[in-house]
Subunit: 201 residues, 2 copies
DNA sequence: TGATTTATATAGCGATCACTAATCATTTCT
DNA sequence: AGAAATGATTAGTGATCGCTATATAAATCA
């Protein structure tokens, strides 16, 4: 039969699914933040003991880094732009407006994991965690910048910063319990500035 | 001679200035956040021992509450609006734009205390601290709302939320080390949406 | 089968957290 | 002066933090 993705090694096989464990860790970090959750709680949610967590992920900080990476790939700050960005006829103002509206929906969809994992992680008191989240955000803003620069190179700096700032504010509002409608209203108003800055011309 | 503001009581007089101690506490909380600073560090910065801190302020949470209150009075989210709000001929769009520009300057003025104490406190992992900061923010947003409602009652909800969201995003950017110019550029772009929503008519 | 390798579970490490009991010092009251 | 009241100091409380030493279980290798 076919080989597994990775040939099983020598020692005792791992008794838990690494990806499912990451799912649990991501949910906990998203719900309670980096400092709000301890390794004991993480291990329990994963169904393992702390030593297994350290053997599989190295440390709490490295586990968090993996979660950030995972989250960024699954639900990036700039996800809906990847497609349009490759289209030379893309309409940036429209795409960015849709991005904000989508964020309004996602951030307030599940009260248990309100807001953006990355943007909230950026505010962490732990220097290491905040730095990792910041890098994650910067990468997304850079992607945003590249997308805007295709059609409006001189305004890409401001517009990318602006969109990120609005999303950060919406993330905070989502954590405060604001409804999807309330967030969407903010997104729609924010879109007015985008339309003014990036005329379809 | 004249009586002091408060007649001196019976026991041993306090050996430190309560207001100056609050200044130090505010600086520390602003620099490192509620969870980032411990009572030992607070007491040392205030030049006192932990028991004196508890005798004078009750607890870390109550001290933080006092600091929030103090900060809100000295540098409120909506400070520049109090004056104009009493003027029936106020131009809200202009006032809000100035508010955002002022925030851009204040948030990035001192790298050691970047961002807004209240808006950053809102993201705290500690439930109690986050709730207190949230109340503080809500009060400011409410004030903002009242100011806008004078001339544009139907749009006050969205606009107040929008301004608060942008300020929250700018606060995060300030903590990430963004320059005053970069923050001001975002403020100016954000003002476009305000101008579009609140025509001088 | 026996050696090697890796994962597991138990238990606990030192450090730090917010907080305080006990004692002493300094003031005002009678 | 002596009693009463309040602040300051020392030294530590139990709880939780991230993390790990140790021993055992389960797999592959020779």
């Amino acid at each position: 039969m076919s080989d597994k993705i990775k040939t099983r090694g020598r020692g005792r096989p791992r008794a838990f699914d690494r990806d499912m464990a990451l799912d649990q860790a991501q949910a906990l970090f998203h719900a309670q933040g980096y400092e709000g959750v301890g390794v004991a709680a993480l291990a329990e949610a994963m169904g393992i003991n702390p030593p297994s967590l350290y053997a599989a992920f190295g440390s709490k900080a490295l586990l968090y880094a993996e979660v950030l990476d995972r989250y960024s790939r699954a639900s990036p700050l700039s996800e809906p732009l990847i497609g349009p960005a490759t289209d030379p006829d893309a309409r940036p103002a429209e795409a960015l407006t849709n991005l904000l509206r989508k964020a309004a929906r996602i951030y307030s969809a599940d009260p248990a994991t309100a807001g953006c994992l990355v943007l909230e992680g950026e505010r962490s008191t732990d220097a290491d965690a905040a730095c990792r989240a910041r890098s994650c955000k910067d990468a997304s803003v850079q992607q945003l910048h590249g997308f805007i620069a295709v059609t409006h190179p001189d305004k890409a700096d401001v517009v990318a910063d602006y969109v990120a700032a609005v999303m950060s504010g919406m993330s905070a509002d989502a954590r405060a319990g604001h409804s999807t409608e309330r967030l969407t209203a903010v997104a729609n108003m924010a879109a007015l500035a985008i339309a003014a800055m990036l005329p379809t011309a």
